[in-house]
Subunit: 344 residues, 4 copies
Amino acid sequence: MIRFNNDYNHGAHPQILKALAETNDQSYCGYGLDSLCQKASEEIKKYLDCPTAAIHYLVGGTQTNYTVIAAALRPYQSVISAESGHIHAHETGAVENTGHKIHTLPGKDGKITAAQIEAVAADYAESTIPEHITQPKMVYISFPTEYGTLYSLNELEAISSVCRKYDLYLFVDGARMGYGLGSVKNDVSLSDLARLTDAFYLGGTKCGTLFGEALVILNPKLQPDFRSCIKQNGAMLAKGWLLGLQFYTMFRDGLYFKITRKADEYAMRIKEAFAEKGIPAYIESFTNQQFVVVTNRQKEQLAENFIFEFEGKIDEDHSCIRFCTSWSTTEEEVRALTEEIRRL
Amino acid sequence: MIRFNNDYNHGAHPQILKALAETNDQSYCGYGLDSLCQKASEEIKKYLDCPTAAIHYLVGGTQTNYTVIAAALRPYQSVISAESGHIHAHETGAVENTGHKIHTLPGKDGKITAAQIEAVAADYAESTIPEHITQPKMVYISFPTEYGTLYSLNELEAISSVCRKYDLYLFVDGARMGYGLGSVKNDVSLSDLARLTDAFYLGGTKCGTLFGEALVILNPKLQPDFRSCIKQNGAMLAKGWLLGLQFYTMFRDGLYFKITRKADEYAMRIKEAFAEKGIPAYIESFTNQQFVVVTNRQKEQLAENFIFEFEGKIDEDHSCIRFCTSWSTTEEEVRALTEEIRRL
Amino acid sequence: MIRFNNDYNHGAHPQILKALAETNDQSYCGYGLDSLCQKASEEIKKYLDCPTAAIHYLVGGTQTNYTVIAAALRPYQSVISAESGHIHAHETGAVENTGHKIHTLPGKDGKITAAQIEAVAADYAESTIPEHITQPKMVYISFPTEYGTLYSLNELEAISSVCRKYDLYLFVDGARMGYGLGSVKNDVSLSDLARLTDAFYLGGTKCGTLFGEALVILNPKLQPDFRSCIKQNGAMLAKGWLLGLQFYTMFRDGLYFKITRKADEYAMRIKEAFAEKGIPAYIESFTNQQFVVVTNRQKEQLAENFIFEFEGKIDEDHSCIRFCTSWSTTEEEVRALTEEIRRL
Amino acid sequence: MIRFNNDYNHGAHPQILKALAETNDQSYCGYGLDSLCQKASEEIKKYLDCPTAAIHYLVGGTQTNYTVIAAALRPYQSVISAESGHIHAHETGAVENTGHKIHTLPGKDGKITAAQIEAVAADYAESTIPEHITQPKMVYISFPTEYGTLYSLNELEAISSVCRKYDLYLFVDGARMGYGLGSVKNDVSLSDLARLTDAFYLGGTKCGTLFGEALVILNPKLQPDFRSCIKQNGAMLAKGWLLGLQFYTMFRDGLYFKITRKADEYAMRIKEAFAEKGIPAYIESFTNQQFVVVTNRQKEQLAENFIFEFEGKIDEDHSCIRFCTSWSTTEEEVRALTEEIRRL
């Protein structure tokens, strides 16, 4: 059986394991104050064009999301998100557990628009009884989204502009950032994100590390005492250098970008195979997640040799299923899948 | 100017003030452990047909809502509500502030159905990864709803039945309970509520007292240590007997029912006046809140002598506005309004 | 039986009830945005010498305490309090329920010192790993304290000075403020409090109103959106004018000060009676609460005609008990008690 | 420089790295539902004599502590801990951030007694106004404690007995469990812990893994939906098998016990070296942490070649410092240190 069910079903890129082995006899000071975290941050900053950025390393995505949101908001403030946003749909109410409402907006292909955000912010600004509703203060978007789609640079510029107009923080969940940046359709760079957002993160878990997310805080208002927030939320790894080492390995020579771009290319081959077969995409994605609508019979046939994710029934005869490539996907696995698709 | 803007713009029914004056020289023990609270509870229990019910007196509705919800749920559990539910739309994220997600459902006329609730509960029950989403554990409905509409006994029976099937608590916000019970269209009694729900409350603030809500907890699982929850949430009035006294005054001889039924009758006269004039209801309500769609010109004319609530624009020329009657509304005020409506 | 057990066992000063009766036919807008709240605030401001103070009316003390603390602190920040502080000892963990640690200090007679506070703040400032401990950011003191003792103006100046040096907020719980201001030993004025603190409140519940606390926020940093915090914490009374009316009645002609000063005088007579009898004070208080150490026999004899509060056993033969006077205490009640004391 | 500053300054035992390398080409299902976690749990259960135990793998200690506590307690309940308890002293208010008060008790050498716990529980049980204070519902102890001391089996039996008498949960923080079990003075086994507690954990981070804690939940009341609590608190590792693999490696043949026992032996040699030199222990510890009181001059001399932890000043001339051994400490490092001690 070959797994295409998600992008976190293998350990880590071999260079990561090698780096771990090479440093295992070294001793380091704890809690992310070590030299490896520092070196990783220097490498990442080369892409940002923002010398005042503060970079922190946390263990996982859910943790990073609620730690940032809880640190940024006062108790009566809410965070705007697409209904399909990970914080709303897949994190067991972690954000609400920190006391904050998620103000959901219906998304299109997992995305929300500057106009939608402005409508919410303007409503609040014009409310005669604002004290009876939560104050929208942050916008959460995913890049790429949970459906593999991408915000264009224009769309991001527009969202950022609305956020600044209404004094909202813009926070980008980059759990799959590599696959976003590596897409053939992408026109957004890390320095764009650094310029347009208040905080974003570079996902490691899904992009080649054993675990870990590199959080970049641009807005100086969100920087003070952030390490206290990390610790309080159980997100401060005792052996923090393990995170620094992994991200240093990923960014010192662009490995992060290379392996995720490759995964995107594989995904495009799978996409084409489905298209050629006339099997429709559920959503047009140009990143490593491919959602397609198959018949029950096709699903069964694919399930003989491949593990993929069942997303839901479309009707009695059809289902939406997801195939993910990742940094660990091989040429052979992709070939096996595309050949099977052609045989459907 | 005559106020029809809400049902909490006057102090209290004269009998309440009289009772306060008569007992002002007495001293009582604190925190609701006094004889007046006990007497009030005995009176209320006469309507419940449930000797094991526990009754507590809290100060306000928002407070009662989040105190009950926070007491009932474990951290990863959520409460189901209509999008128009007061806890979602008008309480500044108080429920989320206690750590819980509100699972919203689109309502029809402010109501949700047993089928909608069952769909949510069944989805969770069948989920293969329930730990990634919140567990629905309580259903919150308002009786009457925020739009003045009512659940029929059949509808309540069906909702209660689904709740029991899926082990969900059913909690009824009765901030305007009197106006619900007094409606010509109502077929639900307090003993029905006691039989079908796990907790509900009898609103005082909007139904004739200075302030206060009488919370009835039916389900024995929700009863232990509830006073600790009240205190922790700042909802335990030091001079608790002031609440007991007010509810005793309301329930010892049915004053609560009488004055709210009267307000409903007045609302029906206003409803008829609008109907006769051909001014459409925004929502068909048979309780003390009347939502109508008026032209800008009609709105301006009404605003000359009456204060009402602006609910939102329908289009360039039309608005939805709300007229509320209450226990304090007088025959003269209603006549003045209905005559003005006829002159529109 | 005559109650000296606490200062909240009677309804309200007759002028309050009179004012309620006189305005009961009026209608007001809700949530504290009415003319009566405004008038009350104007009266209170006359004592403050701080035109930019923001005044809000909340229902009770516990509620006021945690609402202010939760509004002021970020998630990893803590509030310093004496171990005997009301927030630590009598509020069911309400502050922790909002997510914040109370950093307790051993008090002397219910008071903490500037030196103690400075030691905590300096420890944090000098910590090499501050992210592993909470950041002290607020100091909570009670005036008078839970033991009836008072901070002198010198002590308050010193505490305020330390707070400003370390950027800590100073918040004063004034649930019994009237009895503090009225004490023969007091040298602190409301304008001193306005000058030296960031927020304090004037207790109503224990000082002559039916209920209610007038919160004065001096520090402009704590003012924005405070009404959202009130609403979210269930502390916004729908009929807010009931609070405004009560505080207007109390402050328009100094009634608040007069009735509490009288209660203090009565307490001094009780204090003297015990002293003359050789019954020792547990703590030297010059406000309305008197703590004395009596023998079991004396306790029994006093209990025949008086209700007082048992505070704890001192040894097999002695107990600490508390007698409270209040605005409702009468000359006759005091005489009855002092005569009984003389007969012990 | 040789690090004796803590027990988490090296990566992982070589067998862990080897196991990671060997499985890196395998794919696994996510979130701890994999075969490796299952195998690890089977190995651990062999030591427990409790087939119904539920075992979960979390990333770090702070996270495990607050996740367990938040899952177990209702909002008004508190957890009893020594003042020196990690949850009180080193976790940035993480427990309070979940809404719960820590009821601290003065410890002796980092330990609290059954009698102290009983006094708190009895006080609550006998309180006439329990709703004004938090309800103690859990006892948190560390084994070994933060000072390296151990509870004897007798002490644990007594504490467990009090907990059961008063219906309190007993939760043991075992971040350094290996070093406790391996001590020459220890008479407690894992099956004792399984019999006497409601939950405890086997620390990995400080005992030879890269990271991770194995939580053992004995009490069936604490088991339902615990995975939801893990996820909500950001403690569910996407690649959960990395935890399973590490604990399987540690427990399949007793490696966990062997390497920590060795570290304890090294610590005893350091302890003896100080004792022979007449340098007093700050606290008598028979586990891997050694606290000694040295002169400033001794401290400086030791600091030339060794990194240790400064714990605090004793007086102008003396300091308390800590030396930790760990699974990664070598014979050579210990010899270097003991020789230096002899040269002091």
